[in-house]
């Protein structure tokens, strides 16, 4: 079905955008490396392919006059989601360009910011590319070489967005969200508070438990002593 395909493509684009944002966060920090720059390059190329695929599919559907009204509303909603995703992607690409210029990797005088990150982003990149392991095959000065390509790609994305706005007119205010506030809590993701939450919150929770257990033990001990004394009094009298 066309709707399911569109949704699947959009989900994929959203996933890649999230991973790209995650990687752009680490530029300039201590886990920045040539590998990161290569991952950025591959991820954004994948994002662009997905964006083009999305655009083609959605424009085809929206131009189709034989679609029913509810379907059309649904596709317009997907279109709005798609254009927002593309906006975020474009902004992240621009920031990547600026940060790439500010933090070149092979210059000995320019130091990276010690942000406290020590691990790599290969897992994130693998998730974006939907593969198991990342292979790194770029040259050692990709951080400088890539910037020109990045500029071109930003222009391409900008043009694509302009075309989209001109060719397809979907008024954003007619689209209503399907999700109510707080809808994200109902889904079952295995993102428990304990794994990602603050360590300080964890500590507080554990301390509370310990104090509760202690209070329970003391109370039950006092209760037992009281019962024993009562039994002794009854027996002696």
């Amino acid at each position: 079905m066309v709707k399911e395909e569109c949704k699947a493509l959009l989900d994929a684009l959203s996933k890649v955008t999230a991973c790209y944002r995650h990687m752009v966060l680490t530029i300039g920090g201590t886990s920045d490396s040539q590998n990161l720059r290569e991952e950025l390059k591959k991820t954004r190329q994948k994002a662009q392919e997905l964006a083009v695929a999305n655009r083609n599919k959605l424009t085809a559907v929206l131009k189709d006059k034989s679609v029913s009204k509810e379907d059309k509303a649904e596709f317009e909603r997907l279109w709005v989601i798609f254009s927002t995703c593309l906006e975020i992607l474009e902004i992240d690409m621009r920031r990547a360009l600026e940060l790439g210029h500010e933090f070149p990797l092979n210059v000995p005088k320019k130091h990276l910011i010690q942000t406290g990150m020590s691990g790599g982003t290969s897992g994130v990149a693998a998730r974006a590319m939907s593969i198991q392991n990342m292979k790194y095959e770029a040259e050692h000065n990709i951080d400088v070489v890539d910037l020109k390509d990045l500029e071109n790609e930003i222009n391409q994305v900008g043009e694509m967005m302009y075309e989209m706005e001109m060719k397809v007119s979907v008024p954003q205010w007619t689209v209503e969200a399907k999700q109510d506030p707080g809808a994200e809590l109902k889904s079952t993701i295995s993102v428990g508070a304990s794994s990602i939450g603050m360590i300080s919150v964890e500590e507080n929770k554990s301390f509370c438990d310990i104090s509760k257990i202690l209070a329970g033990i003391i109370f039950s001990a006092v209760l037992i002593i009281a019962i024993v004394l009562a039994v002794c009094v009854v027996k002696l009298s």
């Binding site: 955008t17 300039g28 910011i113 942000t115 691990g119 209503e176 999700q179 508070a193």
Partner: protein, 468 residues
């Protein structure tokens, strides 16, 4: 770099203080000359690159050669702008010069006026926090969440989708990095969306609109250069006075007026604001019988002083009557009435001036030179507020150059000076308990009618306490 700004808008500039702070942060990273890093030990994980408040303060003192107070202030600014965030007490963005740990913010999250934080990003952050804390958001975050749900409702589905995806992407990193990313994001949003009541560092006050500073001229084309040439031409045509002459005049003015200034030289009999004695105002009212000596002296400084003081003007009129040139002053006064009077009466006033002062054979004919007279008579045909300006200026200069010096040398003026009063200083009471208490007037809230007074008395209780 040409790809800098959003599509179709003017490229924004980074606030200069932020660029300076960025340079400072980068220089702190130097492995030899930068700050010493320590490790932060949490329960199970160890995260590198932490530093204490003390380290930061000492590095600033050493690098810039400043005092500790200044270094603390500078460090505070850096923390407030989000370039360094505290690890122990993340909500209070202040620098403490002790062992409390801090860490650097990642460049993506540096405060920037070039890349302002968008509503969409904030919505995604709140959605992520909602998921992590299972709905337990802070009060103002809940309000913002609901507000955003209404405002960007059309992309809310995207917000939820992206929030989930970002959390899933974060799971692919090590535990220590995940904690760091959370801290970074929290610090970023504390700076860019401060809780209600906290000052926002990104607030830029009302800008003084200088057309040359706010516009970022990109294309230096013909129009730009034409405007620049025009501007420079006008600047060259401005009248200039040598600063030495300006300053001399300024010093003279100040020397002359210093004895007359109530703040610099005290005022007799006493300052009403301090002693609650209003004699000073009563003695210097616009119309008194006997003016004070200072006032009469001031009439000698400048013609405008004499003319603007009602008492002085009356004395001048007396003098001019003796000299048979009183019509000059009357003419001048009539012209003032025309200039500042009602729009509806202009024709009437112009006519009366003409009849009284300018018509040939008028009763109080003023002596104006022929050219000015011609021009004025022309102008009277289409009367407006400023039609008498030339004539008025002529008469003013006549009085100033001719009558005024004679006035100052006249008997009348000398008698005035002799008769002028120097008010005596209020005697300080000998016995302290007889002195009038200095207090501010009672709060008007306490003077309200009985019904409200009960509520009000409970309210501003601070006022009576201050009074006693």
């Amino acid at each position: 770099m040409t790809v800098g700004g959003p599509r179709g808008g003017h490229p924004r500039l980074q606030m200069p203080c932020l660029s300076k702070m960025e340079r400072m942060i980068v220089s702190m990273q130097d492995p030899d000359m930068g700050i010493k890093m320590r490790n932060q030990r949490l329960l199970i994980t160890v995260i590198p690159h932490a530093m204490t408040g003390n380290d930061i303060v000492e590095w600033l003192i050493q690098k810039y050669g400043i005092s500790e107070e200044e270094s603390l202030h500078l460090g505070n600014l850096i923390v407030k702008h989000g370039y360094i965030y505290p690890l122990k007490d993340p909500r209070s963005l202040t620098l403490r010069a002790d062992e409390s740990p801090y860490r650097f913010q990642t460049p993506y999250f540096w405060t920037s006026t070039k890349w302002p934080a968008t509503e969409l990003d904030y919505a995604i952050y709140l959605a992520k926090k909602n998921i992590r804390k299972q709905g337990d958001l802070i009060e103002h975050e809940k309000d913002n969440y609901n507000l955003l749900h209404k405002r960007i409702n059309h992309t809310w589905d995207f917000v939820v989708m992206q929030a989930r995806e970002q959390l899933r992407a974060a799971k692919q990193r090590r535990k220590g990095d995940r904690i760091v990313i959370d801290c970074q994001e929290q610090a970023y949003w504390l700076v860019n969306r401060p809780p209600p009541g906290a000052p926002s560092v990104l607030e830029q006050g009302p800008e003084r609109r200088n057309c040359h500073t706010s516009r970022v001229q990109l294309a230096k084309n013909m129009d730009y250069y034409k405007r620049e040439i025009e501007y420079c031409r006008k600047a060259m045509a401005r009248t200039r006075v040598k600063s030495s002459i300006c300053l001399e005049g300024y010093i003279k003015f100040n020397e002359q007026y210093v004895p007359h200034d109530p703040i610099m030289s005290g005022c007799l009999p006493s300052n009403p604001w301090i002693t609650d004695d209003t004699t000073y105002w009563a003695m210097n009212a616009p119309t008194v019988l006997t003016p004070t000596k200072l006032r009469v002296e001031r009439w000698g400084f400048d013609f405008s002083e004499l003319l603007t003081d009602p008492l002085g003007r009356a004395q001048l009129l007396e003098f001019l009557k003796k000299e048979f040139s009183a019509e000059n002053l009357s003419f001048w006064e009539a012209c003032e009435e025309l200039r500042y009077g009602e729009q509806s009466r202009i024709a009437e006033i112009v006519d009366s001036i003409y009849q009284q002062f300018l018509a040939p054979g008028a009763t109080r004919w003023v002596n104006i030179d022929s050219k000015t007279m011609e021009r004025t008579l022309e102008g009277i045909k289409t009367p407006h507020r400023y039609v008498m300006d030339d004539a008025q200026m002529h008469i003013y200069m006549l009085m100033k150059k001719d009558s005024y010096p004679r006035f100052l040398k006249s008997e009348l003026y000398r008698n005035l000076l002799a008769e002028a009063v120097i008010p005596p200083e209020t005697k300080k009471r000998v016995f302290p308990f007889m002195r009038k208490q200095r207090h501010s007037s009672p709060s008007p809230a306490l003077l309200l009618p009985a019904g409200d007074a009960e509520d009000k008395i409970k309210g501003p209780t601070a006022v009576p306490e201050e009074e006693s």
